[in-house]
Amino acid sequence: MKFQAIQGEGWLLTKAEQLINWGRSRSPWPFPYGTACCGIELMCALASGYDMARFGAERVAFTPRQCDVLIEAGTITKKMVPVLKRIYAQMAEPKWVIAVGACACSGGVFRTYSTQQGIGSVIPVDIYIPGCPPRPEGILYALLKLIDKIEADHPLYKQRPKLIEALEAYK
């Protein structure tokens, strides 16, 4: 984020998009959707040893209404797919999804009648982490990648015509 100080102390000049991205990228609160052994690695990444809170994943939200990043760690059975869809639908925009581990990415070793072959066919996924299970470093790396992605985003792009219209009214 680029700031420019003008007219001494107390004033900073920046773009609205950059300000929004700054806020979003520094507080990606996770929703821990741990369904298998990847969930253990996720717990490890969240706990004091690796401390995911260093990168803004400060508070683990156990309600989808109060989180930004759905971290899907583990196997998703076909029986569970409607639940996952509903959890994702309950999250408020903006929302992102990280698929942790082979099972969440592609079904992993469970190429069977009961396992969803990757959650990418059910909900949109931003970051895929390979591994069975991935190490906590992998999960932290994915979070950093997600932060990069958030910072490169243009949150006001769709609202641009409306904003221009609103600004025109002040002229």
Binding site: K78, K79, V81, P82, T112, Y113, S114
Partner: protein, 185 residues
């Protein structure tokens, strides 16, 4: 008196076959008498604990064995020998694993279930622990348990049509998907 003799003594005529392998005793009993047999083993044999209950599908096993037998029969016909009538084994088995908590003895009780009569009486009256395993066997093999208090699918969802542990069900499924319609209040 060894466990083998005791079991033979308790069951008498109900004992169809008895097999011992490395100290594990496995007995086969007739399908129609399963509840009476298990009740006798519980009351007189002291097997007061049902560890598990599960099904087996022997579809390929017996098909292969029949083929092999036919082949060997053809060979033996050349020498002029004739064998008895070929016995067709029922496709499914249900196995009850019993444990005696007082003597720490284990017993496998097997009952064969033919494909055209997929019904067994429930043993939930003897052991409440049979409730979920019987639901699982129904879910996976389609064997119905008569008199079961709540015979619904245990692992797959209710709308699922097939019985996935049957050998003729493809491993990767038939493309079933679960859909839920939530009530929007």
């Amino acid at each position: 008196m060894s466990l083998k003799d005791r079991v033979a003594d308790i069951l008498g005529k109900d004992l169809v076959a008895l097999n011992e392998f490395r100290g594990d005793l496995c007995i086969e009993v007739p399908k129609g008498r399963i509840v009476q047999v298990l009740a006798k083993l519980k009351e007189e044999g002291g097997f007061d604990f049902l560890s598990d209950l599960f099904g087996v599908d022997n579809l390929d096993l017996y098909a292969k064995a029949a083929k092999k037998k036919k082949k060997s029969q053809e060979e033996s016909e050349d020498t002029g020998e004739t064998k008895g009538k070929e016995s067709v084994q029922p496709r499914f088995e249900v196995i009850y694993l019993l444990l005696s908590l007082s003597t720490n003895e284990r017993l496998q009780v097997m009952v064969r279930v033919p494909e055209d009569d997929l019904e067994l009486p429930t043993v939930t009256g003897l052991w409440k622990a049979a409730n979920w395993p019987e639901r699982e066997v129904f879910d996976m093999f389609g064997i119905r348990f008569k008199g079961h208090p709540n015979l619904r699918r245990l692992l797959m969802w209710d709308e699922f049509q097939d019985h996935p542990l049957r050998k003729d069900y493809p491993l990767e499924g038939k493309g079933e998907e679960r859909h839920l319609n939530y009530d929007i209040a």
